[in-house]
Symmetry: C2
Subunit: 568 residues, 2 copies
Amino acid sequence: MDSQQFREAATATIDEIITYFDTLGSRGVVSAVEPGYLRKLLPAEAPQDGEPWADIQKDIEAKIMPGITHWSHPGFHAFFPCATSYPSILGELYSAALSGACFNWICSPAVTELETVVLDWLAKLLGLPACFLSTGPTRGGGVIQGSASEAILTAMVAARDKYLRETLPFPYPLPSSTSSPATDSSDTDTETANAREEAIARKRARMVALGTTLTHSSARKAAQILGVRFRAVRVSARDGYALTAPALAAALAECRAQGLEPFFLAATLGTTDVCSVDDFAGVAEALDADYEAAAAAGVVFSGGGDGFGGRHGDGDGAGDGQRTTTNNGCAAVAGAQGQSRPGEVWVHVDAAYAGAALVCPEVQARVRIGLIERFHSFDMNMHKWLLVNFDASCFFVRDRDWLVRALGVNQAVYGNKASDGGLVTDYREWQIPLGRRFRSLKIWFVLRSYGVKGLQEYIRRTIALGEQFAASLRAREDLFEIVAGPSFALTVFRLAARSEGETLEERNALTRALYEKVNATGKIWLTSTVLDGRFAIRLMTGVRTTEREHVEAAVKTLVEVAEEVMKG
Amino acid sequence: MDSQQFREAATATIDEIITYFDTLGSRGVVSAVEPGYLRKLLPAEAPQDGEPWADIQKDIEAKIMPGITHWSHPGFHAFFPCATSYPSILGELYSAALSGACFNWICSPAVTELETVVLDWLAKLLGLPACFLSTGPTRGGGVIQGSASEAILTAMVAARDKYLRETLPFPYPLPSSTSSPATDSSDTDTETANAREEAIARKRARMVALGTTLTHSSARKAAQILGVRFRAVRVSARDGYALTAPALAAALAECRAQGLEPFFLAATLGTTDVCSVDDFAGVAEALDADYEAAAAAGVVFSGGGDGFGGRHGDGDGAGDGQRTTTNNGCAAVAGAQGQSRPGEVWVHVDAAYAGAALVCPEVQARVRIGLIERFHSFDMNMHKWLLVNFDASCFFVRDRDWLVRALGVNQAVYGNKASDGGLVTDYREWQIPLGRRFRSLKIWFVLRSYGVKGLQEYIRRTIALGEQFAASLRAREDLFEIVAGPSFALTVFRLAARSEGETLEERNALTRALYEKVNATGKIWLTSTVLDGRFAIRLMTGVRTTEREHVEAAVKTLVEVAEEVMKG
């Protein structure tokens, strides 16, 4: 395909995309194909000779579209949104043209630097404490990850390594772990190194990550990947499905009693099931009390590690600082990098979906976002509810060295003057993969095209749609019971009880019938969950194209079907 | 931005991209900006009001381009290529418009099904054994990962869990690891469960992953993430930097002697430093001998696990099959899923770059790709040398259940009829993240636009350019010594010795001077490595835009600077 052919092909593609969005509402929301539909339509092998673009393009409508579930459809009320917008599409277009692996600064300085700048913009826009800014007092900063799952895994790896570094009685990681590939690590397999590996393995075996029963499954998956234990603290309707100080305190005490060492907690701002928000103040309180009690009971947090932790070789010791608070309100400590008590539990705030609403100051105030200065990392997905298309998970950390020490692996071929000089950021050391796309472009375009006011208006509008929906349900208490919300444009509900004697099973079955019949209409798409055994339906109103009339239509459908189900 | 504004903006963007590619050779290869250049050019915060597209777009050339290193520049000879092509850009364009999280089949059946089909196309095109096809005899298949690092991490997680499942004397994973989030895992914290967690932790502590001193750093990083030991087997120039049977046998014996349990080996087809290829037959031989010796020595591989391993509940036991070979040449075993000996070392073949050359039958024959039927997983990046832009790491596994059992985590909100019925693929269970982009579109477009012949022609052309370059160096033995290659369009070389008495340090310093001076010209970009203490320069000729004349120009520059360095 030469330049001229590309111009024609791209113009035709742009036309098709515009038509797609302009007529999206007329399609069914969810694909209705049967499993295996596509293999029947395609050849068994790649063609020997190249095909003209026109032949390829016509297969989009003919073969691909029937298998698409339309996440930007106004009737998409399932899961959470997965955004797209015109400015974001343009960002992907430039990014594809400027394709590069971009693991180091020199691989394209603009890729690294724009990312640092726009994530600082975003941190300010979300009202995050200054310690999460790259220019902040604690060497914090943001990095774009592919998904919230990758962010929580990255956080957990950093947390585990920080904990080991701070609590082992010898340097961690061991030298062999950071040696260059040109050096056989068996060179260092002395008896000492082996004994230390054993001690690390023993300690790892006692470490436990915590979440709640409503923490996203990615936390459990991350623990599975790390090979550490995971404990879910039960949260209940009584507490609005939020993690509270007493519940966390009990779980921590249970772990300590079993000789386990808690090192990580996933707190959530907007759980997937009900959009609940954990009690940040309570979490901090419970962790403080646990730390003091454990220290008093003789649990040794501070090892003799000399800070041997990577190529920076700055030799700062763990546990050499006293906790202080700087005048910008960020928890910080005297000393280069010791902004936390040695061995304290790392708190990661998963705000994958609801974090987007922090663009509104009233939401920042309501969730008291300033409290997260006590915590260690924060993640939100612009690709869910903030108009940037997948993938753009924005992950912030209070001290970037925590990432670099855990994830920085050297290889001779990646050496270069800028990196070796230590003046630049190499984002490969902040993430699981090596290479990375130019994802900050689409964020930059969206922030500039919409402006802060445009984003606030969008978030407020979709939150109001959620309230409109919940009000419609409340107006029909004969048919519906709200189980949770509306919270961040999400309402969770079930069928009202038909009689006082109705069992949980009966009510679940009827609610499931409602759910399945409504989805079968093809007009809207809902997802479901199970809360303390109660089957419930989730309806989310965050999609960009959803308007008041669509919510009214959804209510109408729900009422019609609910009346039918209740009768029959 | 409305439809009409998008049409104008996209048209202007397409124009700019075409101009970019048409004039790319006239730019410097590597960005020459100073660290921090971009922050000075941008506001400190996101704008309050939206900006028109024209204002945004003009910043691309003014502010972004100076910070871009051009990976598609004909003078880009560094690292490996990171591809882009017009058909691939169109794939990204559609993918952005159809944005969805696509973690389950129902989230867009076309996203899952096209991926399965095009990865089968690719497996056939690369000559992979049939066991890596989704339609093959062993329930294999391919999945698109973001990078080779994610692929090797995924493989290592699956390998570790497979090993534990097969060698522990009780079911693995423990029930609590797969319970739904609605169930507090502490419900199952009986004494038995705790004792089992301890046993798992003890075994994990003995497990070791192996690679070589030229294995990509992502293997070591994956081991660091998993928290398992890593040993690098030394490979040497004498063996062409390939892992051989004797070297692997010695490393395995050393591990066994230390009471360690090898569970994973990263073998490489095309190492980053020199594009060497490990001896697959030798690897298989050494592993067979190790397995038999360990079994004879009483190492217990087969536990009493009952195959309790996930939601499939198929109850197949580990170690219940005998090794046989099916008539299609794939190693397989009687029984539903037991295609491997219990507790055997998982071999992952990292062909991230050089795997692309397998589109040529002569390369398939030369590396004897059929031998990998003995191994467990294979990965190659179409985004390096096969014209698909980043990211498209194509990861194949011989039995997809190995992935699902290790990475499948349930959450009520993701339940749906298609998934629960077990008839479809949910790729979230084959990878680290939950959500995923529609990445198969760009692969489909590239395979169809170029056709098999077009891809073969491109690979052969760039391999020939590597041979042309190496021949030019050989013609100047007074100036250059080839250290390795040409192999897969990569040549590694250093300055010739000026005198017999020249020390390694002197020669390294002169070669480094050559390297730095050539890069300083801005005409081409090279990277370097260190092999057994010898500093060497890598020159790769795989970029799509590189032609004979560019290689000639590169040689001319190298000769001029080398003569200068040799004199001075």
